[in-house]
C-alpha cells in the first residue's frame, strides 16, 4: 500500500475513533484517537500493516496527560504518531503491552513517572524508581513537589 492508501484505510476502518489527522510532513502523520480505541488501532497497525513500534512518550500538558505512540512503517518511510489525551484526575487507558511485547516496559515507566493506569497490563511493577519511593507521587507531573526532607539542593558554596 502507498502512504495515501494506508491513511485512507485507517480512516475507513476506524473513522469513529479518529478525532483528527494532522499531516506534518511527507514522513510524519499525527493521529488523534479516543483513549479506549488505542487497543485495536495500535494492534491493527502493528499486526496487519507490519509497522515497527518505536516508543511511547508521555507529557503532562495543560489539557491533560498526553501519550504519543510512535509507529514506523519502514517500507513507506512514514512515521505514524497516535496521540491520546487522558483526563488528569483519572488517567486510564487500555494496555497494549499484552499484545505487543515491546510496549511492556515503556508502559511500566509511564505508569510510575506520570501515574497513568494501564488497564490489563501483564506485569504492572515499577521499572525505574526505587522501592522506597512513596505511592501516589509522580515525578514528571507538573505539580510535583519535593517530598524527601533529607534531599540537599544547594551546592554548598
Amino acid at each position: 500500500m502507498t502512504r495515501d492508501q494506508v491513511l485512507r484505510d485507517l480512516q475507513n476502518r476506524f473513522g469513529d475513533d479518529i478525532l483528527d489527522v494532522f499531516q506534518k510532513s511527507p514522513k510524519r502523520v499525527y493521529m488523534g484517537l479516543k483513549p479506549r480505541a488505542i487497543a485495536w488501532v495500535g494492534e491493527y497497525i502493528f499486526r496487519e500493516l507490519g509497522a515497527r513500534f518505536n516508543i511511547a512518550t508521555g507529557t503532562d500538558t495543560p489539557e491533560g496527560i498526553e501519550i504519543l505512540y510512535h509507529f514506523t512503517l519502514e517500507d513507506l518511510n512514514l512515521m505514524l504518531n497516535l496521540r491520546v489525551l487522558l483526563d488528569r484526575e483519572n488517567p486510564v487507558i487500555p494496555s497494549l503491552g499484552k499484545s505487543i511485547e515491546a510496549v511492556n516496559w515503556i508502559e511500566r515507566e509511564l505508569m510510575e513517572l506520570l501515574g497513568i493506569t494501564f488497564d490489563g497490563h501483564p506485569d504492572p511493577r515499577r521499572l525505574l524508581l526505587p522501592d522506597n519511593w512513596p505511592d501516589g507521587v509522580f515525578p514528571l507531573r507538573q505539580d510535583y513537589t519535593e517530598w524527601d526532607d533529607t534531599a540537599i539542593r544547594t551546592r554548598g558554596v
Partner: protein, 140 residues
C-alpha cells in the same frame, strides 16, 4: 606512612564505577587506560573485581537506585582505599542538582579523597588528578 599505603601507591589498582552518569566521563576514563594515554605505564591497572581494587573511580550523579549499590560496593573494597570522583556530577551533581532522583551528592554517601572537575574531564586532567592524589597521600 604505613606499609599498606606505600604498597598501594606503588601500583594502585582502580575499579571503575558509574553511578548513573551520561557515559562521557566513562569514555574519558577508558581513554586513560587505553594505549594513547596509557596510565598502565605508571602502574595503574584496571581491576575486574572490586575486591582487588585500591582506588574507586566514581562517575555520575548518584541516583537513588545506585546510591544503595554504591554503599554496598564501598563496604567490599579492601581498606585503606581511595575514592576519586570524576566529573562535575560527582562534585556538585552538575545540572542534575534539582532532579527528583539525585537527592544527595557523592560525599554524603561515601568519603571522597579527590575530585576531578570537568564535564567531562580530559584524560590529561584525570591523570593530573591521580598524580596529585598520590602526592597528597605520599606526603601523609
Amino acid at each position: 606512612m604505613s606499609l599498606k599505603l606505600k604498597a598501594l601507591l606503588k601500583s594502585p589498582w582502580v575499579f571503575h564505577l558509574a553511578t548513573g552518569s551520561c557515559n562521557n566521563c566513562d569514555i574519558e576514563t577508558l581513554d586513560c587506560l587505553t594505549p594513547r594515554f596509557d596510565i598502565e605505564r605508571f602502574g595503574i591497572l584496571l581491576a575486574g573485581s572490586i575486591k582487588h581494587a585500591d582506588v574507586l573511580l566514581v562517575t555520575g550523579s548518584c541516583n537513588r537506585m545506585s546510591a544503595e549499590r554504591l554503599k554496598v560496593l564501598y563496604e567490599q573494597v579492601p581498606k585503606p582505599c581511595l575514592v576519586v570522583g570524576i566529573g562535575s556530577c560527582t562534585g556538585s551533581r552538575g545540572l542534575f542538582i534539582d532532579s527528583y532522583n539525585c537527592p544527595v551528592p557523592l560525599d554524603h554517601i561515601i568519603p571522597v579523597d579527590a575530585y576531578i572537575p570537568g564535564c567531562p574531564p580530559k584524560p590529561e586532567a584525570i591523570i593530573a588528578g591521580v598524580v596529585k592524589l598520590i602526592d597528597k597521600v605520599g606526603k601523609g
